[in-house]
Amino acid sequence: MATQVMTNLDPNSRAAAKGLSDLTIRNLFIIPTIAFLIIFNIFPLLYSLAYSFTDFRASTNAPANFVGLQNYRDLLSDPFIWSNFSITAKYVLISVTGQVIVGFGLAMLLNRAIPAKGLITTLLLLPMMLSMAVVGLFWKLLYDPNFGIINYFLGLDKFEWLADPDMALYAIAIVDIWMWAPFVMLLSLAGLSAVPKHLYEAAEIDRATGLYTFFRITLPLVAPILMIAIIFRTMEAFKTFDLAYVLSSQPTTELIAIRLYKMAFQEWQTGMSSAFAYIVLIMVVAITNIYVKYLNKVKAR
């Protein structure tokens, strides 16, 4: 069988008789990448794992003292950290829900014959390709209470979007929804176009209502792809740094990534921030695990 020849790692194989053996080529192709990732991702993480058990401060020359689990204990009992987590949870919820509603809604609207559909779809996808930090920053002007176009068009007189502690998180989430609803739209469109037409025809013959068709045919068939979009966006929203950092310095918008940044690079609590980074890391790896399981599941279909 052809495939057998191709995957054969026997050093005496035909191809290996001349040139490098398949085994050598495989190692030559794979090992540098793995090594690169280990050196620049895993090794640094081990380095910071070691620091997470110390009181090291990168701003001083004082040697690091071993403090055991003290950093972890302090962090987990610090009410401010818990408030960072709850702000993040709230942010993830608002922003991902918004993206799913807007994105899926757009996909439903686009899933029909529309003039210049390809061009419209590409234009709608543009925001997600742009830099969150640079374009996000410009929303400061759009949100400006005095001369921002948002207040002007919505007829809100001098409404404070970013200066109001309660509103700022929503304002940031709105920018995130603007940028990433197109991502949900893109994946939903793929899901919608894969729904077999004959199911809709059958539903029509059965005189099924529009709602029934949506909940019994459309949604269940799009669900796996929509789930990928939701998990991926949840993970990204959980890590949000750029957007919130350039738009607001309110304590009510201090997401986990921002707290971590301040702890590490403004307060220079290197040991403590390493421990914090580890807590965040474990959460991210957990979400990634779910995400990859889903990717493989959809791929297998």
């Binding site: 398949d22 994946l187 740094f241 921030s273």
Partner: protein
């Protein structure tokens, strides 16, 4: 979709098309506003009601690339008339271009350098990530690797790490080896970040190339290496180009690593542009101009990439 038949369906369809255009207008307004603000004179950037119709000027772009200071006294008539058109624009805005005291050479703002840094760092890291990623993807696609799924998960998981988490130890290590605020430092970080993406996407593209092609080449007496370079690589070229564009955009847009690891010498545009807003009344026309120049390459690439967006954004899971 099923063809439109009943009057009711026709009606829904029309409403949907109108809704799509309304949504499109809303989605594009921020981008349009960036573009339009970058051609406004400063006094029209912040007006109520917003200025929509105006005489465009390139003065924001002149200001973007030059170093300026506030005018204390009005320039003399001779001085004004002797100045080139672009310098007069700066005078008109109540500022003057800063010149080198001895040579009279115009001093540039930091933007040009940051833009060049962004280009160098994004291009080099993209080339590295795509070439290493393609080789690794071929390895995983064609050969048996013990624990293949675990390795692929490991590779992907490195991309999912929050930048700040990785930046803490990297900052300390770079400080030891002197890589903070260097091009190489950022190139390494962006390569590491993009390699995992390149492996996943390229594996999908290479999986699609029939094994029979190489099989035939091997029978014809090619070595495995020759078969890879002469048969597989040409077939994978489209995929590599799409992957490269994705990697470039990711590196181009990256903010957190650049903010932490660089401050001057190797600083890229994303941390530089927000730093110009600073305190006081920012000149939004200049920020808009800087943003627009920065966005143009990405907008062009997005159009080139339009048929691969789905695949790229889903890490190759959904191919259409």
């Amino acid at each position: 979709m099923a063809g439109v038949r009943t009057p009711k369906e026709k009606w829904t369809n029309r409403v949907a098309i109108i809704a799509v255009f309304v949504a499109l207008a809303i989605m594009l307004t921020p981008i349009y506003w960036i573009a339009s603000t970058s051609f406004k004179p400063r006094n029209l950037a912040t007006t109520i009601p917003p200025t929509v119709v105006f005489e465009p000027t390139v003065s924001p772009f002149v200001k973007l690339f030059t170093k300026r200071s506030q005018l204390r006294d009005q320039p003399s008539v001779e001085e004004y008339n002797a100045a080139p058109w672009w310098e007069r624009m700066v005078f008109d805005g109540g500022e003057k271009v800063v010149r080198n005291g001895k040579t009279g050479e115009v001093k540039s703002s930091g933007y040009g350098d940051r833009f060049t840094n962004s280009l160098i760092i994004s291009i080099v890291s993209t080339v590295l990530a795509v070439s290493m990623g393609t080789l690794t993807a071929y390895g995983f696609s064609r050969f048996k690797v013990a624990g293949e799924d675990d390795w692929l998960f490991f590779i992907l998981s490195t991309r999912m790490l929050p930048p700040v988490v990785v930046a803490i130890p990297m900052f300390l290590m770079y400080r030891v080896v002197g890589l903070n605020d260097t091009h190489l430092g950022l190139i390494i970080l962006y390569t590491a970040f993009n390699i995992s993406f390149a492996v996943w996407i390229m594996k999908g593209f290479i999986d699609e190339i029939p094994r029979e092609y190489e099989e035939a080449a091997l029978v014809d007496g090619y070595t495995r290496m020759q078969a890879f370079f002469k048969v597989v690589l040409p077939e994978a070229l489209t995929g590599m180009a799409a992957t490269a564009v994705f990697c470039f955009i990711t590196a181009w847009n990256e903010y957190a690593f650049a903010l932490i690891m660089t401050n001057r010498n190797a600083q890229t545009a994303p941390p530089y542009i927000p730093s110009q807003v600073g305190s006081g009344l920012p000149d939004w026309t200049v920020i808009a101009a800087g943003t627009l120049v920065f966005l143009i390459p990405v907008a062009i690439f997005t159009f080139l990439l339009r048929n691969h967006l789905l695949r790229g954004m889903s890490f190759g899971a959904i191919r259409k």
